[in-house]
């Protein structure tokens, strides 16, 4: 029986890390089921939504529940958990060892440091300004505005718990900078500069993932992810609209 508890813990923790890192719902459930199956559990039931996981090891046994609070995208952790689940299915890890490794991953911070992310955001912004029909003069303003907006969003994220506020602030900074650049003669098209600069923050991938979840039959997860993505787009749009309202 004690063995069972360890297995449940492994499954829940693996599911939690994957959900927090932005994996698709079907991948999360699939991983949990595979791990359980590797430890000879049959009839496992798992149900994941963006905010919670339900998991039970049989039809008429107790159900375990785990709340998920913060979500972001962290592909590195998904890759690591995937690797561990492969090891488990291959029979290379027993339950206790697996629990120890997976706890270790949960505590670990694999993020790129903030300044690297800001630089990456700057390059992304500049590139998109050109790709979406801008001209070369648009690239540098988008580069700077994108970096500043993203930095503002990260900084605000550390101070305030509400995602909406930091995204709103990011949009606002980008709007002000873009308008200022154009006013002083840098950049050719305000639209292109802004579109490029908001690209690092904009929820393109969450929207696509929401539709993918819906198509795979995860209706609750798909709808809630879609709403979350819509809210992000709204926050950024409102931040920039505020600038236009002020100017």
């Amino acid at each position: 029986m004690k063995e069972h508890i360890t297995i449940v813990k492994v499954c829940l923790l693996a599911g939690k890390i994957m959900l927090k890192s932005g994996a698709e719902t079907s991948r999360v459930e699939d991983t949990m089921n595979r791990i359980a199956a590797a430890y000879d559990l049959e009839n496992v039931q798992s149900y994941a939504t963006p905010t919670a996981i339900n998991f039970s090891i049989g039809v008429a046994t107790e159900t375990n529940f785990l709340r998920i609070n913060n979500r972001s995208t962290d592909l590195h952790k998904i890759a690591v958990v995937n690797h561990i689940s492969r090891q488990i299915t291959a029979g290379e890890l027993d339950a206790r060892e697996a629990l120890r490794t997976i706890k270790h991953i949960d505590d670990k911070k694999l993020h790129f440091p903030g300044w690297v992310q800001i630089i990456a955001a700057a390059f992304v912004s500049g590139s998109f300004a050109y790709m979406f029909g801008g001209t070369w003069p648009d690239v540098l303003p988008a580069f700077i505005a994108g970096a500043a907006g993203f930095a503002g969003m990260i900084a605000c994220d550390r101070l305030v718990d509400i995602r909406f506020v930091s995204e709103f602030l990011g949009g606002f900074i980008i709007g002000i900078l873009a308008v200022a650049f154009l006013h002083y003669g840098f950049g050719a098209s305000l639209d292109r500069v802004i579109i490029g600069a908001v690209m690092p923050m904009v929820p393109g991938v969450p929207i696509t993932n929401a539709v993918r979840d819906l198509m795979a039959g995860h209706l609750v997860a798909g709808l809630s992810k879609g709403v979350e993505a819509g809210l992000t787009a709204f926050a950024i749009g409102a931040g920039i609209a505020l600038v236009f309202g002020l100017v």
């Binding site: 995208t73 955001a121 992304v124 590139s127 690209m199 393109g204 991938v205 696509t208 539709v211």
Partner: protein, 145 residues
């Protein structure tokens, strides 16, 4: 010349998003390449006057196939490559544009753009799914015989 510029910028954009999404360091170049090829296919098709939705579907299919190949090759989950790879195709900019029109009281354009967002993201989902389906069929075939 324009194509070269697009190749470079789309590579930077996809690899940069790989950093934002915290992809493993050793896979960054590959995610950049996947994104680059997807975008170039989309760009060439749209400049030859194809509609953006089918062009997005085809671009996403190419992204999915390449991600599948890289995932096999490098033994990492496919999500690492296809998430960074679809970045240039994804309708984030359009979604923002739609919201921008909504908050400026231009509901008509806002609704139009939102519908486009739905179609584009649906197109990407279909493109990604298509390659998964093919993959499943290929995997199941020898087992049946």
């Amino acid at each position: 010349m324009i194509i070269v510029a697009h190749l470079i910028t789309s590579f930077i954009a996809s690899a940069g998003f790989g950093i934002l999404f915290n992809a493993p360091r050793r896979d960054l170049v590959h995610s950049g390449l996947v994104g680059m090829f997807g975008w170039i296919l989309y760009y060439t098709l749209t400049t030859h006057e194809m509609d953006i939705v089918p062009a997005t579907v085809l671009g996403a299919m190419l992204v999915a196939v390449l991600s599948q190949v890289f995932a096999r090759f490098r033994k990492t989950p496919i999500i690492i490559f296809n998430i960074s790879g679809i970045i240039p195709l994804v309708p984030g900019g359009v979604a923002y544009d739609a919201m921008q029109h909504f908050v400026e009281n231009d509901y008509f354009t806002g609704v139009q753009l939102s519908a486009q967002v739905m179609l584009l993201s649906g197109g990407i989902a279909i493109g990604l799914m298509f390659s998964e389906v093919i993959n499943q069929i290929i995997r199941k075939f020898p087992a049946r015989r």
